[in-house]
């Protein structure tokens, strides 16, 4: 009898929960030339990956409660691999979340209690052509490499004795075609270029505010022949070529549109536009190659389409824009619809 009473309660509880109205999505942002930006969805826990629960699973849920769904704690960076899996680093949970929406699977990777090869502060993430996962650990001073299934493969930058070679590695980019790994070492004000085995081939930059000089560089993105580096405390993004030569820069300090106050994640869409997250203002600003502000989206807040301390940014091959909304403990997904393309893939 007592078990029957206990089982009855959640049914009553679930009826009340269903009455809660869904929050409306923000309207599409209509842009010049028929372009537009649409809000798609947000996700924050394993629960959103799950498929439809069967009868027996529902029955068990009623009897003993729903299982714990791992939740984003303090997400920072994101990458999407060729299978469409969203890989999110979470320094707050000291691990990496892998959301596989297509196969309704979720995995959490962590490396606690692994002695000298423990992962302590997973910061930024990138994937290579084989979907291997590269994670910078800003505390351990290393790069951890995992297989697509999440199995630990190796650590790059691990010195004899377990210490990390890098002082504070943050941004990471992998170019499988060129067989290069790019790592920003924020405290050294440099970008290191490594081969796929982890051997350092070149270091780019020094402390300063001139061309190819950095003041606490953070994120890095490799795209075509360009290398984009967030030069955080110079309030700009530098465009370099693959040899480390200066090409141009975008950004200035200020508190108006087009200025950068706390530049965080960057990404480039199919039309070559540069997207820059501003952590303080809670917006994503979009620039062309000349540094001209095209538009921005987002606002400071907790609603859909709003951000609190946004950090990581990733744009996949379908121009889906993934923004890590760190303080709101979620990832918001938008989609950019650019100009229709020709059969050759060029914009009409």
């Amino acid at each position: 009898m007592c078990i029957g009473l206990l089982l009855a309660a959640p049914v009553w509880a679930s009826k009340e929960k269903k009455q809660k109205a869904a929050e409306p999505a923000p309207p599409d942002l209509l842009l010049e030339g028929g372009r537009r930006l649409s809000y798609e969805r947000s996700f924050s826990s394993e629960k959103e990956v799950e498929g439809k629960r069967g009868f027996f699973k529902k029955l068990v849920d009623i009897a003993i409660g729903e299982p714990d769904h791992p939740h984003l704690v303090r997400p920072y960076s994101i990458a999407v691999d060729s299978r469409g899996r969203a890989i999110v680093t979470d320094p707050g949970a000291n691990g990496i979340h892998i959301f596989d929406f297509e196969n309704h699977k979720y995995k959490f990777i962590e490396r606690r209690d692994k002695g000298r090869e423990s992962m302590r502060t997973p910061q930024c993430v990138a994937v290579d052509a084989q979907d291997n996962i590269y994670v910078s650990d800003s505390t351990a001073g290393k790069i951890f490499v995992f297989e697509p299934a999440g199995k630990f493969k190796r650590a790059i930058g691990s010195l004899k004795g377990g210490e990390g070679y890098f002082k504070r590695p943050t941004g990471i980019a992998v170019d499988s075609a060129a067989q290069r790994i790019y790592i920003t070492d924020t405290l050294r004000d440099k970008v290191f270029v490594l081969d796929m085995d982890g051997a350092i081939l070149q270091s780019i930059g020094k402390r300063g505010n001139g061309p190819v000089e950095f003041n606490l560089p953070t994120e890095v993105v490799a795209r075509d022949q360009d290398l984009f580096v967030v030069d955080a405390m110079n309030f700009r993004v530098q465009f370099l070529n693959r040899s480390g030569g200066f090409e141009t820069e975008v950004g200035r300090v200020g508190d108006s549109s087009g200025a950068m106050f706390r530049p965080k994640g960057i990404a480039v869409d199919s039309e070559g536009h540069l997207y820059v997250v501003d952590g303080l203002w809670g917006v994503v600003q979009i620039f062309d190659r000349d540094g001209q502000l095209l538009y921005y989206f987002g606002a400071h807040g907790t609603g859909l389409g709003e951000f609190q301390l946004p950090a990581g940014l990733f744009i996949d091959h379908e121009d889906r824009i993934f923004v890590v909304d760190s303080y709101n403990r979620r990832v918001q997904v938008f989609r950019y619809f650019g100009l229709p393309k020709t059969a050759q893939g060029r914009p009409q």
Partner: protein, 596 residues
């Protein structure tokens, strides 16, 4: 994300909690008992119209839900706590809180001892608070507190009880640069102590009531100065009934004034004048407020005037000097005393590392009168903090000497020490050990010294911990229903009747192993042993407590499987008294619900 139930347009409720079922068993001195039944707890929170208009929280519990972890599975307790806030953020905020617990396990405390005596009893309290905060008008805060509790120490027959009532009114007002505050407090405490506790032939009954009035005013002066004046009156009545009865009452008045100016950035000068009569009348009141039963002697007229000048100068960034001159007249028990006091102190703080890791501070003062130098008093502190190899080590030694001017000059001193060492042994593996203690120094009362020592060690590995301790303490104390209370520092024991102050000593040893296995199984195993005695002029009482405790909880989604076992062996009374043995165990499950 918690769900919420909305009733109509204005009411909001949120309810969650645990419901469960358990089997309980107990063996009380060889007599066994068994039962099965529901257990549970809940948290209901809500608001009406707006949380600032009315918000409330109610937390009932039923069955084996204990707030006390040391004796956590000894008894099934039931109770509720509730709070309601009205008009929060407005100019007339108020609050009401209520708490009630039945058959709650608790601890009869012994000063500086880790393990006291296990006791159980009922308690309830009610507090009402209301404020008026209207700009431009005097603020007012009124509160009324009622508290009642009864308790029985395992192994004794008698029941102790205490009830108290406190009414407090406080008001502040700012006008023409004056900050004025005034207040009134009425307090009534009635205490019944079971005879077995203090060894008296009859139960002790005591009641006291007091009324306190106070008015203070302050105003800013030129040269960053200020002036303040105050008056207070404390009247009290006190009845005591043991093998004999006594009662006394008294009134004390105090007037004080202080003027302070800062003629230079580094110099501060103040003048003060104080008057008080029947000063000692406040002393028993201070102790009685904690529920202590002390048979205070009749106190005759006492008058004290004190006037003087105080100066403070910052000589260097880390060195300041302070000096004062005061003249004092006292009348006590028909005698008159007069003295001039010269005082001085130097405070020196060394922020740099000295010999690697030492720092110290020192303050001294000198007291002199027409007969010459009397007492050198002071406070000294030595700190050591250093990393030695992989050990983090810190230590502290402090010494203080206090000069009381009651009955002209009365000197006490005490010293204390503490040392800790900690190191990381491996990945998520730590060890820490500590030793600390305190001891009384100079005293005018032979045989009333007190001291305590405590050794402890902790080993942590991942989610598991092992810790242990050993302590012993002794000194002078007085009884309250919740435990022994140390006689406050600086109060001469000679002010109390013979037999009021009880000597105690206690030794305790214990250990605990606990942890979380696979993020789901939480367990704790504990052992404690405490032996002690109290001595008053009439009778000696010995106490002995042995406790074995084991609890575990396994979580499967929102289901908790709970089990616990406690075995208490406790003896309280004259030497040779037979101990009482209480064994209690339970096993059951509960489920957490987020109802709405």
């Amino acid at each position: 994300m918690a769900a919420q139930l909305q009733v109509g347009e204005d009411w909001n409720f949120n309810l969650n909690g645990n419901l469960g079922y358990s089997y309980n068993g107990s063996i009380d001195n060889g007599v066994s008992g068994h039962s099965m039944g529901f257990t549970g707890d809940a948290t209901l929170k809500g608001s009406y119209y707006n949380p600032n208009f009315l918000n409330f929280s109610v937390q009932p519990y039923y069955g084996r839900v204990q707030s006390n972890t040391l004796f956590g599975s000894l008894s099934n307790s039931t109770g509720v706590t509730a709070t309601a806030n009205l008009f929060s953020g407005s100019r007339f905020p108020g609050s009401i809180s209520y708490g009630r617990g039945q058959n709650v396990s608790s601890e009869f405390g012994i000063p500086a001892s880790d393990i006291g005596l296990a006791q159980h009893g009922d308690a309830q309290n009610l507090a009402i608070n209301w404020s008026e905060i209207v700009p431009g008008l005097p603020t007012l805060n009124a509160s009324y507190l009622i508290g009642d509790e009864t308790s029985t120490i395992y192994g004794t027959q008698g029941q102790s009880s205490q009830n108290n009532r406190t009414l407090s009114l406080l008001s502040t007002y700012k006008i023409d640069g004056f900050l004025i505050n005034g207040g009134y407090m009425h307090r009534n405490v009635n205490t019944d102590l079971a005879e077995i506790i203090n060894g008296s032939p009859l139960p002790v009954q005591a009641s006291n009531s007091s009324n306190t009035y106070q008015v203070n005013a302050s105003h800013a002066l030129p040269m960053s100065g200020s002036a303040s004046f105050g008056w207070n009156r404390n009247s009290y009545g006190y009845d005591y009934r043991d093998s004999y009865s006594t009662s006394n009452s008294g009134v004390s008045d105090g007037l004080n004034g202080t003027v302070t100016v800062r003629p230079a950035a580094k110099l501060s000068v103040s003048g003060f004048a104080n008057y008080s009569d029947n000063l000692l009348g406040a002393v028993p009141e201070q102790i009685l407020n904690s529920g202590t039963v002390i048979n205070a002697p009749g106190l005759r007229s006492f008058k004290n005037t004190l006037e003087g000048v105080d100066a403070y100068y910052q000589l260097l960034s880390n060195l300041s000097v302070h000096g004062n001159v005061a003249h004092q007249n006292q009348e006590f028990l028909g005698h008159s005393y007069s003295s001039t006091i010269y005082g001085g102190s130097a405070n020196y703080n060394l922020n740099k590392r000295f010999l690697g890791s030492l720092s110290f501070s020192l303050a001294l003062f000198e007291v002199a009168n027409q007969l010459g130098n009397q007492v050198l008093g002071g406070v000294a502190n030595v700190n050591f903090d250093r990393k030695i190899d992989r050990w983090d080590v810190n230590a502290n030694f402090s010494y203080s000497q206090n000069v009381q001017t009651i009955v002209l000059v009365y000197t006490t001193s005490s010293y204390g020490w503490v040392a800790n060492a900690r190191r990381q042994l491996g990945n998520r593996m730590y060890f820490a050990a500590g030793y600390g203690g305190s001891h009384s120094g100079l005293t005018n009362e032979a045989g009333l010294t007190s001291g305590s020592h405590r050794w402890s060690g902790t080993f942590l590995w991942k989610n598991y911990n092992v810790n242990g301790f050993y302590s012993f303490s002794n000194g002078a104390a007085a009884f309250t229903p919740t435990g022994l209370v140390s006689v406050p520092v600086g109060v001469p024991p000679s002010l109390f009747a013979p037999g009021s102050v009880i000597l105690y000593n206690s030794k305790a040893v214990g250990g605990n192993v606990g942890g979380v296995f696979m993020h789901r199984l939480t367990f704790s195993l504990g052992y404690g042993d405490s032996r002690g005695s109290t001595v008053d002029p009439l009778i000696s009482t010995v106490t002995q407590t042995q406790l074995y405790n084991a609890v575990m909880q396994y979580r499967l989604r929102k289901i908790f499987l709970n089990a616990g076992y406690t075995r208490l062996r406790q003896a309280v009374g004259t030497p040779g008294v037979a101990p009482v043995v209480v064994t209690s165990y339970f096993i059951g499950f509960s489920r957490w619900f987020d109802f709405f």
